[in-house]
Structures are given as structure tokens and as C-alpha cells.
């Protein structure tokens, strides 16, 4: 199933100079794994050495996934994942 991921212009190098891409998976983590295959290094930018999302905020349809089930949050067709730098949330 197709999920759309959107990132701001300042992060577009993460997606080969695009601000959005289509990915697939049943959870956020699976979507990120799909993106890793197409944009190597993508997951390393999201998850730090300690396995935490310390530099970004991730949203599913606008809702922070920290308030859901984190990377295990389930996704549905046509859902939208958004990523912004952590500092932008303050």
C-alpha cells in the first residue's frame, strides 16, 4: 500500500532532493525500511546511535508518533508521514 512521506526543504537531500516520496509498509518502521532501500542512509538520519529519534519529530497524518506507538505505529493506505527537525517543534 502506498504511503506518502513529506519532509521540509531543508531535509530534502534525505530523499534525493525531493520533498516527498511514496513508500510502502504496514508500520512507520517498515515505511522507513522501504525508504532506506531507495535512499541509503535515510534511517541513520532518523534514528541515532542510541536507537532514539533525538533530532526529529515524526508525524502520522499530523499526529506526533511519540503519542501513538512510535515506529511501531500502524499505517493505512494514503496515510501521510511528516518529518521535521526537533528544534522546529519548539
Amino acid at each position: 500500500m502506498s504511503i506518502i512521506i513529506r519532509i521540509p526543504g531543508s531535509l530534502k537531500e534525505w530523499l534525493d532532493n525531493q520533498e516527498e516520496a511514496v513508500c510502502q509498509g504496514n508500520t512507520i518502521q517498515e515505511c522507513f525500511n522501504y525508504l532506506e532501500n531507495n535512499f541509503p542512509g535515510f534511517c541513520d538520519r532518523i534514528i541515532d546511535d542510541k536507537g532514539e529519534m533525538s533530532n526529529v519529530l515524526i508525524f502520522l497524518n499530523g499526529e506526533n508518533i511519540r503519542n501513538m506507538e512510535g515506529l511501531d505505529t500502524k499505517v493505512n493506505p494514503d496515510d501521510e508521514i511528516g518529518i521535521i527537525p526537533l528544534a522546529a517543534g519548539g
Binding site: 513529506r6 526543504g9 516527498e20 497524518n61 527537525p85 526537533l86 528544534a87 522546529a88 519548539g90
Partner: protein, 173 residues
């Protein structure tokens, strides 16, 4: 009205009644308490370059005048000391109105959907949390100064969490 004071890092869009002392943290005509702000208040985050955001501000100003959007605040320059390279544009509203506000933003071409609660922002500015620590490091404060700032933040933000029934009077980062 757009409040663009060059001495301020932020540019604001308020309804003129805010300049007369009225609060914008209001839902259905009633001022929100600290507890309600922690539960309901937040903002849609929009990132972009300054020119695009200035243009967006002009387009959204009428919605603030019509009280469809309570308040907007955005960076004059990217907060590079916190690690951002784009300006951040924050469109504040009550969670119970956020879908209506999102529809307005969507019509203006905003695509990336990111809702951050005020509670989450406050928590990021608490002692030991990432934005507070990153900001203090960028300022080059010595450890005694950092400790003083941490205690001050804990007191100021703590009062909001500890007094849920008091009317919210704002907080400074």
C-alpha cells in the same frame, strides 16, 4: 495585524484585541486554564524560507482578524543555534479547532502536516531536555549559569503544570 518589530526574533500575527490586553488562548469565548492549555493548546508547524512565510503571513492575517486563527508566530531568521536552517512558522489554535485551521493552511499550499502541542514544547524546554540544553550550549554559558537557567525554567514551567485551574498567562522560552 502583523507585528514586525525588527528588534524581536519573532514576527507575530495577533488580533488587535491582544494589544488591548485580551488573551488569545481562548476557546468559544472563554480563557483557557493552565490545565486546558496543556490538554488542548498547540500549533501547526510550517517550515520555509522567509519570503514565502512573509507571503503566507499576509494571506493568513485576515483569518486572524476574523478570529478563525488565534495567533501566529514565526522566525525572522532560522534558529541556527538550535539546528534549524529554515524559518519556523507556528499557527496556534485549540486542538478542537485544529482541523478547521488545517483546512485554511492546506488551501494556502501547506502540505506537511505537523501538530505540536504546547505541552510537548514546554517539555522540550525543561531542564535536561534537548532544546534547553542545546540552546544553553550554543550560548556558551558556564555551568553555574546553566544551573540557574535550569532552576528558573523548572519554576516557571512547573507553575503551569502545578496550577491546572489557574487561567493561563503565557510562558517564555
Amino acid at each position: 495585524m502583523i507585528i514586525d518589530d525588527p528588534s524581536s526574533h519573532f514576527i507575530f500575527i495577533y488580533h488587535p484585541f491582544v494589544l488591548m490586553g485580551k488573551k488569545y488562548t481562548v476557546y468559544q469565548g472563554r480563557e483557557l486554564t493552565n490545565g486546558e492549555v496543556l490538554k488542548y493548546w498547540g500549533k501547526w508547524i510550517v517550515l520555509g524560507n522567509k519570503d514565502w512565510l512573509d507571503d503566507l503571513a499576509k494571506k493568513l492575517d485576515p483569518y486572524v482578524e476574523e478570529k478563525k486563527i488565534p495567533c501566529i508566530k514565526y522566525d525572522r531568521n532560522p534558529s541556527s543555534n538550535l539546528g534549524t536552517t529554515e524559518c519556523v512558522f507556528m499557527v496556534y489554535c485549540d486542538r478542537r479547532d485544529r482541523d478547521n485551521v488545517w483546512r485554511i493552511l492546506s488551501r494556502m499550499g501547506v502540505k506537511l502536516k505537523a501538530w505540536v502541542t504546547e505541552k510537548e514544547t514546554m517539555e522540550m524546554w525543561m531542564p535536561g531536555k534537548p532544546l534547553m540544553e542545546r540552546w544553553m550550549k550554543s550560548q556558551g554559558f558556564d555551568e553555574p549559569t546553566r544551573d540557574m537557567i535550569r532552576k528558573d525554567a523548572e519554576t516557571r514551567i512547573g507553575k503551569i503544570f502545578d496550577n491546572p485551574d489557574m487561567i493561563f498567562t503565557g510562558w517564555e522560552q
